[in-house]
Structures are given as structure tokens and as C-alpha cells.
């Protein structure tokens, strides 16, 4: 029963998406958005229903194969569903945000000619994301993993006539593919050890392979587990845009705003974090891998946050913020605080989706203007957007009481108590990150909503209802969700059946009683104050003394340049690597294929035979005496040969 329900939850968005794609245009917009929203709604309702059932009866958690995908010899690869607390909570997050985005899109895209296509895409995306989180094996994980990548590819390039958009989606796909390559290698490694790709089998037998090693060279061996974890994390780095594979995410903002909210903030990019949590039984056995995760996460958290400080595109700022927050989640996973990581994932999904959608609302209101230097003073014009943005921003910086506060604080708590290698480094990174977060968040906030209206001529008014409703609906969890959920999710054993992590005491060094106590406990730490300090600083810089940022950027010009050029990563990728491979391909083609193989060996042989032929044909001179001479020479040759032969000189 439950299995079939879950299957319906999975298939519904697929079905409705396909329906919208194929016949939506013929029937009409109402049909398209109606049917897709229905699909996601069904999925959401089922998810919630399953959650309730599971909470009531933990026995209902199940892991069942739907069908055998492939069977070769003794190997069997299956497609199946694993429904446990982790899955269900991810399903709810995905479906909820997806639903909000669906509703939001009705208003946001109503003039776009690709309306139906868009709904088809986001529905299909929802399906892909669900199949990723509901999977009970690595294969299906990879299916979903790539499928969300493709939908993201299509959605980033949604406005396909825009050169920048199709450049961005190409880039996104390729960089994701780099991560995917590592992921599939990691999967292959696990397969080569276990001979199966089922989570259950692999996670139950991890102990047996702790001493397995992989020989990388004659003298260097590495623990298989560590290698597997590193490779899997490579996949996560691509999808969750960790340094140095982060470059695609800011560019992906070329897509329509709803998908920035759905894919590039709330769901797809968190797939990496989800996977880390899912793979916790593996990662927990390899401290090396954990440290690596930790380091990458902290670097991402701090460095990408810095970049957000110098951006002027409203969506890009939020995108960099997303990068930074993803860094936080990865850091949490690095210190084994998977539950904190997932908690942050969840709250982040709400408030970041909110922020993006709010940004979208601003963009719509300003007739698709995205440069924050041209904004300002929108507070009074867009009150609802303003308030919801404020909620989102406060949640993002971790203002006490907001959802982000709980998740981020728990996370930092865990980092501070961790003893994993590099945890100290990570701690300082995340602390500085808090300041930076609050700086860029409120820089954006102040520049957009406060100050002076730049262009009085544009008629600015609050967008239509379908845009505002999701904002409000998302604002509520962004503000409140932390209170009831932190306890069970982070400190109690809600995830016990799906994640393997040390007890909450070991992780946080803190005995949790209730959310209020947690809040007061946090107030004794530095995090909250740093965040609030950040608000003041940005108020000072962007409202009071607006010329200081300019001065600062000239004063620290090299640093500023570094930031504005995004640490030259794009330059490196595009002008060094991409060009290198392009040139390599070109020269292999023109030198290797055309010049050496084709012109020299293949056609060269033909040419030489031809030349030989035209030389040899001269033998046939046409003169009888030459012909006769040839015959006589032939005869003479024979005779000479006979004579020599009999005298033993030849053969």
C-alpha cells in the first residue's frame, strides 16, 4: 500500500509534466498549470501522509525494489524505493518548494511564450528530484542525479535565444558532468567491492571492507572506503557547487527566477548534501574523507560569500549566498553533524526559495531589471515583497528566532565541538562566514528596498497574487519552522533509521531540552552578535556613508579585483582548460588525423602508388625494340639465374 502510494507520489509529477508538455499548448494555460500543480500537490499530500504514518509507526519504513533494471550474470541492478525519515522529509521539502514555485510561475511567466514548456520542465524536475531522494540504490540515485542536471540544463537555457543563457547552461552541464564522473567512479568502486548497488546491502556490510585497499601505484595504497567517499564527494562537489566546481551556479542565474529558487537554491544543489547524509554509513568510517569534506565546505562557505559582496546582480548575490550556505551544509556533514546539515538544508530551502522568489517579484515589478544599482527605495512600493524579503534575509543571517538561526547555530555548534582534522580552521571560516553573510544579505536588502528610487518614471507596483501567495507561504516556515523542528530533527533520533551519526551529545556537546533553551544558549555564543554586527555595518556602509564601499574597493584594489573576477576561476576554466582542450582537439585533428594519418599514411600511400604507376607506365614506351629488349632482358635474367643457381651463388 505504502509502496504504491509512494510510487504515485513519484510518478504524479512525471505524468503531469509529460501531459503538460505534449498537450498543454493545445488545451490552454489553465490546463497546464492546473494539471502540473495537481501533480505536485498529490505528491506533497502523499508525502505528508507518509510522514504522519511513519511518525506514528516507525515500522512502516520500507525498502522495496520496483523492478529489475538490468541483470547480467550474477549481477542484478534494480530500481526501487527506500522510504524512511530522510526520504520523507526531503520529499516534503522538494514538493513544498516545488508547489510554491509552480504557483509562483503562473504569475511570473504568464506572458512568456514558453509557458507550457516551463511547467513541463519543472514538473519533470520535481519527478527527477523525487526519484533521486526516494532511491534505494546508487544507480537510481545517479539517474535522478543526472536527470535533475538535465532539467537544470534545460531550464537555465530556457531563454535559448540569449547567448549568455545557453553559454551558462552548457557550462553548468559540463561542470556537473565532471562531478558526475567522480560519482560514477565512486559507484563503480562500490560495485567492484560489493557486486551490488543497493544501499541496504552496502551499508550493512561496510565493516567488512574497512581494511580493503585500492592500489593506486606500486607503492601507494589507499583505503577503498576513503577513495569511495572521496569519489562520491566529488559528485557532490559538482552538484552542490563546492569549490572549485562552483562556477556554474552563479551563471545559472540566467534561467528564469522560479527555477533559481527551486533548483539552484532549494533542491537540486542540495542533492550533494542529501547524498552525504545518505552515505553517512560510509563517510563515518573514513576520517580522511570527512576532513576533506570539511575543508572543501569551509573554503566554499567563506570564499563564495566574499564574492557575494561585490556583485550587483540581484540574483547573483543570492546565488553566491547559496554557494556559501551550501558550504555550511557540507561543513556540517564534514563534522558528522548530518542532521544539522539536513536541517540547514531544509530551512535554507525555505528561506532561500523565499529570497529568490522575492527577488523575482522585484524583477517583475521593475520590468526585468536585475541590477541592484538601479534599484532602491522599493520598500513602500512593494510592501509584501519587502516584508517577506526581510524575513528571508533575517533567516539567512541567522537572526535569533528565525529558522536559519536554529539551523546555522546548531551547525556552528557542531563544528566548534568537532575534533576532526581541520575542524578549527572550519570553525573560524564559518564564524567569519556569518559576518560576511550578514554583510551581503543586508547590502542587498538595503540597496534594493531602502534609499532612493532610481527611476521615477517606471510604474512600480506589487505583482499579481500568484506571485505573492508563495512568498507569504514560504515566509511562514522561514520564520517559524525552526522552533518545532530543531529538537526532533537535530537532537533527537528522527533520522536514526536513515543516517549513521554519533549521538547528538558527541556532536554538539550540548544537552538539548527545548528550542527556547537552545536560543538562550546560543545567545551566550558569538554567532548571533556577529550577525547583528554585520547588519549594522551594512546599514552604515549602504545607507549612511554610501561612498565608503567605493573607497574601500579602490583602497584594496587587488583584493577587489580578485573578487570581481571571482578568483579567476572562470578565467582559468574558460581560457585555460577549455581553450587547452579545444586547441588539443583541433591540433589532434589537423595534425594527427588529417596530416599524419590521412595525408601521409592513407592518401600518401595512394599518392605514392599513383606516382609509381605513372613512372612505371613509361616502361611501355611504344617502341618495338624496347619491348623486345624487355623480353630479352627477361630471358637473360632467367638464364643468368639458372647459371648462378647451378654454380651455387643464389638459392
Amino acid at each position: 500500500m505504502l509502496f504504491n502510494l509512494s510510487l504515485i507520489a513519484l510518478i504524479a509529477p512525471l505524468f503531469t509534466g509529460v501531459l503538460a508538455g505534449f498537450i498543454g499548448k493545445k488545451i490552454g494555460k489553465i490546463f497546464t498549470n492546473g494539471v502540473t500543480i495537481l501533480g505536485v500537490l498529490i505528491s506533497l499530500i502523499i508525502s505528508i501522509y507518509i510522514l504522519i504514518l511513519i511518525l506514528g509507526n516507525p515500522e512502516l519504513v520500507f525498502n522495496q525494489n520496483a523492478y529489475t533494471w538490468l541483470s547480467i550474470g550474477s549481477y542484478k541492478l534494480s530500481i526501487g524505493l527506500l522510504i524512511d525519515n530522510l526520504t520523507v522529509s526531503m520529499m516534503i521539502v522538494v514538493n513544498f518548494v516545488s508547489l510554491m514555485v509552480h504557483i509562483y510561475t503562473i504569475g511570473y511567466m504568464h506572458k512568456d511564450p514558453g509557458y507550457h514548456r516551463f511547467f513541463c520542465y519543472i514538473s519533470l524536475f520535481t519527478f527527477a528530484m523525487l526519484s533521486l531522494v526516494m532511491s534505494n540504490n546508487f544507480l537510481q540515485l545517479f539517474f535522478g542525479w543526472e536527470a535533475v542536471g538535465v532539467m537544470s540544463y534545460l531550464l537555465i537555457g530556457f531563454w535559448y535565444t540569449k547567448e549568455s543563457a545557453i553559454k551558462a547552461n552548457f557550462k553548468a552541464f559540463i561542470i556537473n558532468r565532471i562531478g558526475d564522473m567522480f560519482l560514477i567512479l565512486g559507484i563503480a568502486l562500490l560495485f567492484s567491492i560489493f557486486g551490488t548497488l543497493d544501499y541496504e546491502h552496502i551499508f550493512n556490510n561496510t565493516e567488512s571492507i574497512t581494511s580493503n585497499t585500492v592500489k593506486l601505484s606500486s607503492s601507494f595504497e589507499i583505503s577503498s572506503l576513503t577513495l569511495a567517499c572521496l569519489l562520491l564527494f566529488g559528485g557532490a562537489m559538482g552538484k552542490s557547487a563546492q569549490m572549485p566546481l562552483h562556477v556554474w551556479l552563479p551563471d545559472s542565474m540566467e534561467g528564469p527566477t522560479p527555477i533559481s529558487a527551486l533548483i539552484h537554491a532549494a533542491t537540486m544543489v542540495t542533492a550533494g548534501v542529501f547524498m552525504l547524509a545518505r552515505m553517512s554509513p560510509l563517510f563515518e568510517l573514513s576520517t580522511t574523507a570527512l576532513s576533506f569534506v570539511l575543508i572543501i565546505g569551509s573554503i566554499t562557505a567563506i570564499s563564495t560569500g566574499l564574492l557575494g559582496l561585490v556583485q550587483y546582480d540581484i540574483k547573483r548575490v543570492i546565488a553566491y549566498s547559496t554557494l556559501s550556505q551550501l558550504g555550511y551544509m557540507v561543513v556540517a556533514a564534514g563534522v558528522s553533524a548530518y542532521s544539522a546539515s539536513l536541517f540547514h538544508l531544509m530551512t535554507h530551502a525555505f528561506f532561500k526559495a523565499l529570497l529568490f522568489l522575492a527577488a523575482g517579484s522585484v524583477i517583475v515589478a521593475l520590468h526585468h531589471e536585475q541590477d541592484i544599482r538601479k534599484m532602491g527605495g522599493l520598500k513602500s512600493k512593494l510592501p509584501i515583497t519587502y516584508i517577506t524579503s526581510l524575513i528571508g534575509s533575517l533567516a539567512l543571517i541567522g537572526f535569533p528566532g528565525f529558522s536559519g538561526f536554529f539551523s546555522k547555530d546548531a551547525l556552528i555548534e557542531a563544528v566548534s565541538h568537532s575534533s576532526v582534522y581541520a575542524s578549527e580552521f572550519a570553525y573560524y571560516c564559518v564564524l567569519i562566514g556569518v559576518l560576511i553573510t550578514s554583510l551581503y544579505t543586508f547590502r542587498l536588502f538595503f540597496l534594493v528596498f531602502h534609499g532612493q528610487l532610481k527611476d521615477e518614471n517606471i510604474k512600480v507596483k506589487e505583482p499579481q497574487l500568484s506571485i505573492l501567495i508563495p512568498l507569504i507561504l514560504l515566509a511562514i516556515p522561514s520564520m517559524l519552522i525552526g522552533w518545532p523542528t530543531i529538537g526532533p530533527l537535530v537532537f533527537n533520533d528522527f533520522f536514526a533509521n536513515s543516517i549513521m551519526q554519533p549521538s547528538s551529545n558527541d556532536i554538539f556537546g550540548y544537552e538539548f531540552t527545548d528550542s527556547y533553551h537552545f536560543l538562550t544558549h546560543s545567545l551566550s555564543g558569538p554567532v548571533v552578535y556577529i550577525a547583528i554586527f554585520g547588519i549594522f555595518v551594512s546599514y552604515f556602509l549602504y545607507i549612511l556613508k554610501t561612498d565608503i564601499p567605493e573607497k574601500l574597493s579602490t583602497a584594496f584594489n587587488p583584493f577587489y579585483k580578485l573578487l570581481i573576477n571571482k578568483y579567476y576561476f572562470d578565467y582559468l576554466y574558460e581560457n585555460v582548460f577549455a581553450r587547452l582542450f579545444n586547441n588539443l582537439g583541433n591540433s589532434l585533428w589537423s595534425k594527427g588525423d588529417i596530416k599524419i594519418i590521412d595525408n601521409f599514411i592513407v592518401n600518401g600511400t595512394a599518392y605514392r602508388v599513383g606516382r609509381l604507376s605513372s613512372r612505371v607506365r613509361e616502361l611501355q614506351s611504344g617502341y618495338i625494340y624496347h619491348y623486345a629488349l624487355m623480353m630479352v632482358l627477361g630471358l637473360a635474367l632467367f638464364l643468368a639465374w639458372v647459371v648462378f643457381k647451378s654454380s651455387g651463388l643464389v638459392l
Binding site: 602508388v609 616502361l619 618495338i624 619491348y627 623480353m631 627477361g634
Partner: protein, 477 residues
């Protein structure tokens, strides 16, 4: 005595036909077309039938005081010759341009020569057969009297042929001197045959044979003659005399001097390799269709010689199979050229067959069969020719020769493909005039063309037939 004459019925019939033709020629004006054709065809058909009967009855005896031998090989070869000649007559002599009776006369003469060659059991008979064949070939080449190139090529052919037969005879004289006899059975004497004198004599004889076959370096006449002679004569020259030359080789090398096989096989191999390589390589640079076929003939002869150089009966079977198959293919090619040539527009160079497919799809298809067959692509019969030779080579541990052979065939493929590409791929501004081949021509060319395909699909008959020629008993197994 009576019995002996029965045994040479085919030869007698041919001889009578010759007399008849001469008589007819004297009394009838040349306007009376087709007399030559009719007489020739009937003669060939009858002879083929009689030979077939002999073949089935496995007649085997020596006649005329052992000068003449009617055995399986000779009847088989004769049967083949007559059959092919029949097709050639019907295919070419029905064309208005080739109705001159003396053409048929000369050709029948040549066939008589081949018959004598095939049956000879004595160096003298052999010589007579050879000269009958050669002399009529000279006439045949020169038959287009008003043509400058025809007479030129005939002249060249004649002089070179004279030299070659002199060289051959010179060798024969030594053989005679050393052995004191002209009968093949008595020549098979290992002690004498291994002397240097005998080897020198053999070298002379092989030169003569090589000329007849057109092997490098005795090939010079081939391309010139193919180009110079009229198409029908070229067709004849490229087919029937080759059978005669094969008989020559078989009778001399395989019967008379088999004891020296080790010696002559090397010479034959050398000739074969030279022909194979040079013939095919030079053909690549040719533009004249008939010259291409000429050089291609040299190349094919190379293959046949390589097969013969194995020195075993299996090798000879393979070589004969190759030869018969080659004759089929080359007949198809020449017939196609003949058919598409019109009085106004002779088909000479590759450019003349541009886009043939659009105007003559059927003829170009047959030409395509023939060309791919010559390349050695299955399912055409030419593939089996190459394959049998390769099999025998590999079987006798001559792998390196086999490799040379196949590499050269790949090179050779180029010029055959070129013919196909001119017919099919090139676009022609001046469409080829639609010739009007008559029904006989069409039928015979279709038969030959289809036989290339059908025998390719089921090659057992031709393989078994060639084997049966060498030994009647092989048919049974």
C-alpha cells in the same frame, strides 16, 4: 583408325567449318551478314556438345601414334573453349560491325589451335597448335585493316610473337637434343631434367609460355593489342588464347617436366609476382578502358601464374578455375563495351562511360558485376577465383606470397572502382547515345553477366568442373 577419327570429331567439324567458311566467303558478298556467325555458332555448339559427351563418357586414349591425346583434360578444356566461343560469337558477331566472315574464320582457326594444343602429346603437335593459334591471332588483331592503331598493334604483336615463338622453339630444340625425343611421356626424366642445359632450355620455353600468357616482362603486347584491336577481337584475344596457353603450360610443365617442378615453379612464381605487381600498378594510371583491361589481364595472369607456381595439381586446378572465371569476367566487360559502342561514338576512355547508369542501367550493372568480380568481392565469382588461389597458397605454406597477392588486389581494386565510379558517380553533360544492342547481344551479355553473379552465389559447379578436368574421379568424391 576409324575410332581415332571419331575421337577428334570436334576438330574435324571445326576444320570442315573452316573450309565451308572459306567457300562461303568466296561465293557470297559481304552483305550477307551473319553467315559467319551462324556457321561459327553451330560449329561451336556441336563441338561443345560432342566434347560434353566425351567428358561424360570420360573418354581417354592416345591417338595418331601417341601424338594426340584425348583425355579428360583436353576434352574438358575444349568443352570450355567451345562454350565460351559460342557465347562470344553470339555476343559480338551479331553486331553489325563485326559481321565480316573472316573474323569468325580466324577465330575458329584459333579455336582449332587451342584444341590441338589441349590434345597435344608431343612437342611437335604442341608447336603446331600453338602456331595455329598465334597466326590466327595476328590476323585477328589486324582485321580492322583501315585502322592505324589496329595495324600498329598487330605489327607489334606479330614481331614480338615471332620472337617469342623463336625463343620457345630454341628451348624446344634443346629439349629435343637432350632427350632425343619429342614425346611428353619420355621427357619426364629426372636425371636429364636436372642438368643445367635442361634448365636453360626450360627457361627458354617458359619465356615463350610467358609471352603467350602476357606475363611481365613479356607482356608488352597485351595492352597495345587490347587497345588496338577491335572490341570483339580484343574480347576474343583476351579469352580463348589464354585457355590455349594454359593447356600449353599444363602439357609442358605439369606433364612433361613435372619432375623439374621445383625449378620451374620458381620461375613461374617470379613471373607471377612481377605480373601481379606491375600489371596492377600500371593499370592505375590508365585512362583508356581497354588498356585498363589489358593491364588488368596482366595482373590476373600474375595471379594465375602464382597459382601454377604451387606446382601441385591443386594449384593447377585453382589456376584453371581462376582462368575460367577471369574469362567470364573479362568477357562480360568487353561485351559491355561492345554493346554501348555505337558507330558514331566509340567507347574508348573512361570519360566515355560517364554516367552510363542513367542511360544503360542494365549494361552498367553487368559491368559493375564484372568489375567487382575482378576486384574479388563476393558474391561475385571473381572472389572465389582469388580465394581458391589463396587457399592453395596458404595450404602450401606460401603465406607471404598470399599476403603480397591480397595487398596488390587491394591496390588493384582502385582502378576497377574507377570504372564503376565513372559509370555511376560522375555526371555527364553529354548523355551517352542509346545504342541499340540486338536481342542476341543482350541475351548473351545478360547470361555472362548473370553467370558472374549466380555462379558466385553457388560456385560449386565451376569448382567441381575445374577439378573434374584434371581428374574424372574427383567428381565422385
Amino acid at each position: 583408325m576409324n575410332n581415332e577419327l571419331t575421337l577428334i570429331t570436334p576438330e574435324l567439324i571445326i576444320a570442315s567449318a573452316i573450309c565451308l567458311l572459306i567457300l562461303v566467303n568466296s561465293f557470297l558478298t559481304t552483305e550477307k551478314r551473319y553467315t559467319g556467325l551462324i556457321i561459327g555458332s553451330i560449329t561451336m555448339a556441336t563441338c561443345a556438345l560432342i566434347s560434353l559427351i566425351f567428358l561424360i563418357e570420360t573418354t581417354n586414349s592416345s591417338i595418331f601414334n601417341n601424338h594426340y591425346k584425348i583425355d579428360h583434360f583436353s576434352t574438358g578444356l575444349k568443352f570450355t573453349t567451345y562454350l565460351i566461343a559460342l557465347f562470344i560469337f553470339i555476343g559480338t558477331k551479331t553486331n553489325k560491325e563485326n559481321t565480316k566472315s573472316e573474323l569468325v574464320l580466324l577465330e575458329i582457326f584459333a579455336i582449332l589451335g587451342v584444341s590441338i594444343l589441349a590434345s597435344s602429346n608431343n612437342l611437335l603437335t604442341l608447336y603446331l597448335g600453338l602456331e595455329t593459334l598465334t597466326l590466327s591471332m595476328y590476323g585477328l588483331v589486324a582485321s580492322k585493316r583501315s585502322s592505324e592503331i589496329a595495324t600498329e598493334s598487330a605489327m607489334k604483336f606479330f614481331i614480338l610473337g615471332a620472337i617469342a615463338s623463336a625463343i620457345f622453339l630454341y628451348g624446344v630444340s634443346f629439349v629435343y637434343g637432350l632427350h632425343g625425343t619429342l614425346f611428353f611421356e619420355e621427357l619426364n626424366n629426372a636425371t636429364i631434367n636436372n642438368t643445367i642445359e635442361m634448365q636453360l632450355a626450360l627457361a627458354f620455353i617458359i619465356c615463350g609460355i610467358a609471352f603467350k600468357l602476357g606475363a611481365v616482362p613479356f607482356h608488352s603486347w597485351v595492352p597495345d593489342t587490347y587497345q588496338g584491336a577491335s572490341t570483339s577481337s580484343a574480347l576474343f584475344i583476351s579469352t580463348i588464347p589464354k585457355l590455349g596457353a594454359f593447356a600449353l603450360i599444363y602439357r609442358l610443365l605439369y606433364e612433361a617436366f613435372i619432375a623439374n617442378a621445383e625449378f620451374w615453379s620458381l620461375l613461374i612464381l617470379l613471373l607471377g609476382l612481377l605480373s601481379l605487381i606491375l600489371g596492377n600498378v600500371i593499370a592505375i594510371a590508365q585512362d583508356n578502358l581497354r588498356r585498363i583491361l589489358g593491364y588488368s589481364a596482366v595482373g590476373h595472369i600474375g595471379f594465375i601464374l602464382i597459382g601454377l607456381s604451387i606446382g601441385s595439381i591443386d594449384g593447377a586446378i585453382a589456376a584453371l578455375a581462376y582462368l575460367v572465371i577471369y574469362i567470364l569476367m573479362t568477357a562480360a566487360a568487353f561485351m559491355s563495351i561492345e554493346v554501348i559502342s555505337t558507330e558514331k561514338r566509340a567507347v574508348v576512355t573512361l570519360a566515355d562511360i560517364k554516367d552510363l547508369n542513367s542511360t544503360h542501367p542494365w549494361i552498367s550493372l553487368i559491368m559493375l558485376f564484372s568489375m567487382f568480380s575482378m576486384v574479388g568481392i563476393p558474391p561475385f565469382i571473381g572472389f572465389y577465383a582469388k580465394w581458391i588461389i589463396l587457399s592453395e597458397l596458404i595450404n602450401s605454406d606460401m603465406l607471404s606470397i598470399a599476403l603480397i597477392g591480397i595487398i596488390v588486389s587491394v591496390i588493384a581494386a582502385f582502378y576497377y572502382l574507377r570504372i564503376v565510379w565513372y559509370m555511376y558517380f560522375e555526371k555527364n553533360e553529354l548523355p551517352i547515345m542509346k545504342g541499340s544492342p540486338n536481342i542476341f547481344q543482350k541475351t548473351s551479355i545478360s547470361l555472362v553477366g548473370l553467370s558472374i553473379l549466380l555462379l558466385g552465389i553457388y560456385p560449386s559447379p565451376i569448382i567441381n568442373f575445374c577439378r573434374s578436368i584434371f581428374s574424372p574421379f574427383l567428381l565422385i568424391d
